[in-house]
Amino acid sequence: MSRVLNIKVFRFHPEKDQRPYYDTFQVVEREFMSVLEALLEIQHEQDGSLAFRYACRGAVCGSCAMSVNGLVGLADRVQTRNLKANILVEPLSHLPVVKDLIVDMTFFWQHFQEIKPWLIPAETAPERERLMNPADTEKIESFASCILCGSCYTACPVTKRDRDFLGPALLAKIYRFLADPRDSRDAAFLAKLNSEQGVWGCDTIFNCVKVCPKQIRPTDAIVAARKLVVGRFFKLFGANRKREKAE
């Protein structure tokens, strides 16, 4: 017999509501139902004003990141059969709520632009593709598969207390380029990274590793990026000393 799910949803419309509140909806569980499907059923059949982001319905696009029973993840990836009948759905924490389960991710995207998430090669484009050896690609592959859903960003205790901290997803993205032999970021970029807002901000709590829907380990990338940053600064430091001596 199929269960009836009690889905308690965070509601807030900043223009209308004084403060947030919770609505509880009953949904008959279907086989292989995701939390997103349950929310869609509520939106279609019970309350058309319920707002949440989604697009692919299959854990590919990363639009539907939210908190289910206090654990951040993609609503289309969380299966209701793995949960008890009472399900609590809330928006990503410590980001401003636009409406119900939709949060304002401007901070995240601003930072994303700042880190220049594209290849910055030293030389001009060659005739053919820049080839990489498979061992190098393996190192960065998992970090390149990030879908930028923001789950780790809001699961991280450091982003909560420091808005300027880049956060796990973006630092992992930076490492993906630092570890890429085709990329050569300038010293100014590394200097920015060599800060509390960059690689040194991480408290190695590993919340990001816990919540990532794509099994990426951002903390590993941050620790590896620390090594690279330190290494390159020593190299830079050594070169400067050499130049000073020569002069």
Binding site: G48, S49, V98, K99
Partner: protein, 115 residues
């Protein structure tokens, strides 16, 4: 409507879409909100979806042959003589009007796919 198509089910689908289009005229949006109104978005998206569905069904009904992902069970063979042409649809006040254009064949000559 999938890959395998047949006159009777196609006609059935055509009637269904016609009825849905009629029903769409009387649809309304209950949620009156300007911010992230999913109901309004769904209502706006539905109209062109119904148009496109009708066009696909009309073209499939007219094309009495099989070609690629269009497999007419009642016309299983490919017919280059009559149907080597693009289907196009035009909106008119009298309903959807179908017309055809010849394909531009360049390097590869069209042949039947056999596996």
């Amino acid at each position: 409507m999938g890959i395998f198509r047949e006159y009777a089910p196609l006609e059935d689908a055509w009637i269904k879409i016609k009825n849905l289009k009629e029903r769409y005229q009387y649809s309304f949006v209950r949620t009156k909100e300007s911010r992230f109104n999913a109901e309004l978005r769904a209502a706006l998206e539905l109209e062109p979806m119904l148009d496109v569905a009708e066009i696909i069904i009309s073209c499939a009904l007219a094309r009495k042959e099989s070609r690629g992902a269009h497999k007419r069970v009642d016309h299983p063979d490919r017919d280059d003589e009559n149907w080597l042409k693009h289907s196009l649809a035009q909106f008119t006040l009298q309903g959807t009007k179908l017309y055809y254009e010849p394909p531009v064949i360049t390097h590869y000559q069209p042949t039947e796919r056999t596996y």
